[in-house]
Point group: C2
Chain length 124, copies 2
Amino acid sequence: MHRSRLAGFIIDCQTEALEAAASFWSGALGLPTRPLPNEKDYVQLGDPADRLHIEVQSVTHASRVHLDIETDDIEAEVRRLEQLGARRVAQIRTWWVMQAPTGQRFCVVRPQSPDFAAGANRWP
Amino acid sequence: MHRSRLAGFIIDCQTEALEAAASFWSGALGLPTRPLPNEKDYVQLGDPADRLHIEVQSVTHASRVHLDIETDDIEAEVRRLEQLGARRVAQIRTWWVMQAPTGQRFCVVRPQSPDFAAGANRWP
């Protein structure tokens, strides 16, 4: 048995000007920025309602938005998603980048939310 | 004075097989599908925690994920976002498609959430 759920999304910005990118998205979405310690490529956007985990990321590929699925068992979750039709793209640090059968890239990550255990789906 | 906030996101899928696309994303995110009456291009994914408004859409452009900003005054919100550096792309039915200075497309839409009034930001 393992658990997973939608953790949130990352706004991937093809820029080296991470602060300017985060400033735009913070203003547009009305969410304050929360710098992440020891992370030069990510700025968190804090949702006062704690609805989702949202970050702005500096990337070298084309700008996009990608979803994050959080799980307490990365390998089991990746296998579950493969059964649904997704494929593995690359393993980075602790997470897997995957591609949906509909073409979008998304990531399978460790639990991000304080209430992960209460809100996640359980898979046999 | 007008109000706005992040409403959610739409998973744009370049496919005519909307049901199959919605089925994948429903399974992947662990969110049940909620068919929308009179909509042949959209299927809602219902979040039991009502965190965000999420839909899967059949599109003819490349697959992606786009964010929706909900507002009680579309024109005022579009102008506010233009001041932040976004630009108008196209007006469709009741909403505007815009492009962020970081390149992503997003939409400015009418209020989607039952608790919009309580949770939205107020702009002068």
